[in-house]
C-alpha cells in the first residue's frame, strides 16, 4: 500500500503544482518584492528629499489636525498615521458619519509632508505598494474574484507542500545535495533543496496566506453563528475586533482637548518615539474619544492602545490584550507580512521569498525536463513549456518594465500610476507572445538576456532621468535608494550569467548534434565528385 500511497501523493503534488504554478510564481515574485515595498515606493518618487529629518510627534499631530479640521470637520472618525521608518509621510484618513440608510460614511485620505503639513506633491505612482498588492489582489479583476483565485491557488500550494514532504524519500540524506549540469536531475535537486531549506517559511507563508481571507473562504462558518442577514458580517467583525467601545455622537459640539499632554502620557507609557497612530472618534463632539496607539513592533501586531476622553483629556483605558483567537489570527498575519522585521530580518524574508519563487520556477521547469524525451510533441507539453518561459523569464522583464515606466512616463501625465501598471502587463503579454512564437530554446536565452538588460540598465536610466542615482545616493549614504540600484544591478548580472551559460550549453549541444549528423551522413562530399 505504501507504494500506491506515495504514487498518488506524487500525482497530486505534480498536478496541484502544475495547474496553478504560473499564478503562484507571480504571487511569490510580487509578494517577495513587497517586503521592500517602502524602499521601492521611495525609489519611485525621486522628488522626495534625499534625507528626511525627524519631526516631533506633537508637531505632526498638529499639522494633521489642522488639515482634518479643514477637510472633514463633521467626520465620525479621524485617523492620523505618524511618519516612521518605513512610512515617510504623515498619513490622514477620515470617515464621515453613516448615511440615513445605515450606509457606511464617505471617506477620504491625504498624504502630508511631516515637515510642513502640506499635501505632498510627488509624482503619482503605485510604487512598491502596487507591486506588493498584486500578489493577492491581482489586477484588472474585482476584489472578491481575485481573493478567490488567489485562495484556490494557495490551497493548491499547501497541498503541494504537504505532498512534497511525503514523497521526498531521502529528505535528510539529500539535505545538502545539489548535482549541477546533470539536466533533469539538477532541476530535481534544485527544486528539492529550495523547498526543504526554507520549509518552515513555505508552510508559514502559505497557511497564513489562507488565513487572511478565512472569513471569505469559510463564510458558512460565520453564517452558522451569525445568520445570513445583512447585519451578520458587520456584527461578526465588530465582535472580533472588539469595536463596541466607542459611543455614538452626543450631537452637542465640544472642543477637542489639547493633544500635547495626551501624547506625553502615551510616550511615558510606551516609550519615546513609539507612537504610531491616533484614532479620534467623534471629533468636535461631547462624546469624543482619542485612542493613541504604538509600541514596539512584534509579529502579533498588537499595539498598546491608550483611550482618552476627547473633551477632558482624562485617561480612560490602557489595553493591549486581545482574545486568544484574535492573537493567533494577528500573529499569523504578522508573520506573513513581516512588518516587524528590522533590516537584517527583512533581507532574510526577501531571501526566503526568492527561494520560494525559485522553487516554483524550478518545479515548473522540472516538469518539462522530465517529459521532454517522451511527449515533447504533444500540445499540453508545448503549452507548459511556452508558459514557463513567459512566466519565469518574462515576468521579471515585465517588472523591470514597471520601473522603466516610472522613470520614462512624464510626471505631468494624467493617470500615470495606472499607466505604469499597464506598461508592466503590456510587456508581459509581449513576453508571452514571444515565448509562443520563437523556437523554445532560443526564447529562453533571448528573454533572459532581455531581463539582464532591463534590470542592468535601470540604474543608468535612473541617472539619465533623475538626480537620485548611485553617484548621488552612495556618497550621501541614502541606503534605501542606493540599495535599490545595487540590487537591480546584481539582478541584471544574475540574469546575464544565466543567459550566457544556457546560451553556451545550447550552442554546444547544437554543435554536437551537427557533428553527429555529419558523421552519419550517407555519402561524403568527396565521394560525390
Amino acid at each position: 500500500m505504501k507504494g500506491a500511497f506515495r504514487q498518488s501523493m506524487g500525482w497530486l503534488h505534480t498536478w496541484a503544482g502544475l495547474v496553478v504554478g504560473w499564478v503562484l510564481f507571480f504571487m511569490f515574485l510580487t509578494g517577495t518584492l513587497g517586503y521592500f515595498d517602502a524602499e521601492i515606493d521611495r525609489w519611485m518618487q525621486p522628488e522626495r528629499p534625499l534625507t528626511a529629518a525627524a519631526v516631533a510627534p506633537a508637531r505632526e499631530v498638529a499639522f494633521a489636525l489642522d488639515h482634518l479640521t479643514k477637510e472633514a470637520p463633521e467626520a465620525a472618525r479621524w485617523f492620523v498615521g505618524l511618519s516612521g521608518d518605513r512610512s515617510p509621510d504623515l498619513r490622514v484618513f477620515w470617515r464621515g458619519p453613516p448615511g440615513p440608510d445605515g450606509a457606511r460614511g464617505k471617506s477620504g485620505s491625504a498624504q502630508l509632508d511631516p515637515a510642513t503639513g502640506a499635501p505632498t506633491r510627488y509624482r503619482e505612482t503605485g510604487g512598491g505598494q502596487l507591486l506588493y498588492r498584486l500578489h493577492y489582489r491581482l489586477h484588472y479583476l474585482p476584489a472578491t474574484t481575485a481573493y478567490w483565485i488567489v485562495g484556490v491557488c494557495t490551497m493548491f500550494m499547501l497541498i503541494a507542500i504537504v505532498t512534497g514532504v511525503i514523497i521526498h524519500k531521502r529528505i535528510f540524506r539529500d539535505f545538502f545535495t545539489f548535482r549541477p549540469r546533470k539536466g533533469q536531475r539538477s532541476w530535481l535537486d534544485a527544486h528539492n533543496a529550495l523547498s526543504v531549506l526554507a520549509l518552515p517559511f513555505h508552510l508559514m507563508i502559505t497557511y497564513s496566506g489562507l488565513i487572511f481571507f478565512a472569513y471569505l473562504y469559510m463564510a458558512p462558518v460565520v453564517a452558522a453563528s451569525y445568520g445570513l442577514g445583512p447585519d451578520a458580517q458587520p456584527t461578526f467583525f465588530d465582535e472580533l475586533f472588539e469595536r463596541n467601545g466607542t459611543s455614538p455622537p452626543a450631537g452637542t459640539p465640544a472642543a477637542l482637548t489639547a493633544m500635547g499632554p495626551l501624547l506625553k502620557q502615551a510616550e511615558d507609557r510606551i516609550g519615546a518615539g513609539a507612537i504610531r497612530f491616533l484614532n479620534i472618534h467623534n471629533p468636535g463632539d461631547a462624546h469624543a474619544h482619542v485612542v493613541i496607539a504604538g509600541g514596539t513592533l512584534t509579529p502579533s501586531r498588537a499595539p498598546t492602545e491608550l483611550t482618552f476622553d476627547g473633551t477632558s483629556g482624562a485617561l480612560l483605558d490602557v489595553s493591549n490584550n486581545r482574545s486568544a483567537a484574535m492573537s493567533t489570527y494577528q500573529t499569523l498575519l504578522g508573520l506573513h507580512e513581516g512588518l516587524f522585521a528590522g533590516p537584517v530580518l527583512r533581507w532574510l524574508y526577501f531571501l526566503w521569498g526568492l527561494v520560494g519563487t525559485a522553487m516554483i520556477g524550478a518545479g515548473l521547469v522540472l516538469w518539462t525536463a522530465k517529459r521532454r524525451a517522451k511527449i515533447a510533441d504533444r500540445l499540453g507539453f508545448r503549452l507548459v513549456a511556452r508558459l514557463n518561459i513567459g512566466a519565469v523569464a518574462g515576468l521579471p522583464v515585465a517588472i523591470a518594465a514597471y520601473f522603466w515606466a516610472n522613470r520614462l512616463i512624464p510626471v505631468a501625465i494624467e493617470g500615470r500610476a495606472a499607466w505604469e501598471a499597464h506598461a508592466m502587463f503590456i510587456v508581459w503579454a509581449a513576453m508571452l507572445l514571444h515565448a509562443f512564437v520563437r523556437p523554445s530554446g532560443r526564447a529562453w536565452v533571448e528573454q533572459l538576456w532581455l531581463a539582464a538588460a532591463a534590470f542592468g540598465l535601470l540604474p543608468l536610466v535612473n541617472a539619465l532621468t533623475t538626480d537620485r542615482h548611485l553617484g548621488v545616493t552612495l556618497p550621501a549614504g541614502a541606503w534605501d535608494l542606493a540599495g535599490f540600484d545595487l540590487t537591480v544591478l546584481a539582478t541584471g548580472l544574475g540574469f546575464a550569467l544565466a543567459a550566457w551559460r544556457i546560451g553556451r550549453r545550447r550552442a554546444q549541444s547544437e554543435r554536437r548534434a551537427d557533428r553527429a549528423a555529419w558523421a552519419s551522413a550517407p555519402s561524403r562530399p568527396e565521394a560525390a565528385e
Partner: protein, 102 residues
C-alpha cells in the same frame, strides 16, 4: 554582531552535519566517515545549531528571535549547499593504479 555570531555557529553546525554524511565527507576527505567520526560530527552539528539559537533570542526577544533564527538557518544551509556543490566529486578524482580507495 550577535547576528553574525549566530550565522557563524549555524554555518559550522551545518558543515559538521554535512561532513557526517557519506557523500560529502568523501568529497572532502577522500573516504566516507568512519563510525568513530560520524557520531561526534552529528552531535557537534546539532549542538552548534542549537547554540546559534541563543544569540538570536538575545538580540531580538523570543517572538522575533525565533523568526530570525529560522531565517539564519536557511541562509547557512544554502551556504553549505553551495560549498559542498563546489567541491569536486571524489568519484571523479583520478585514482592510483590498483588502489580503489585512493
Amino acid at each position: 554582531m550577535t547576528v553574525l555570531a549566530a550565522l557563524t555557529l549555524a554555518i559550522f553546525g551545518f558543515a559538521a552535519l554535512a561532513l557526517s554524511m557519506h557523500k560529502h565527507h568523501r568529497d572532502v576527505f577522500g573516504a566516507p566517515p568512519t563510525h568513530a567520526r560520524r557520531l561526534p560530527l552529528r552531535v557537534a552539528g546539532w549542538v552548534l545549531l542549537g547554540l546559534s539559537f541563543a544569540p538570536c533570542i538575545a538580540q531580538a526577544g523570543w517572538a522575533i528571535g525565533i523568526v530570525l533564527w529560522l531565517g539564519l538557518l536557511t541562509a547557512a544551509a544554502l551556504a553549505i549547499v553551495l560549498l559542498v556543490t563546489s567541491l569536486p566529486s571524489a568519484k571523479r578524482r583520478p585514482r592510483a593504479r590498483g588502489n580503489p580507495s585512493a
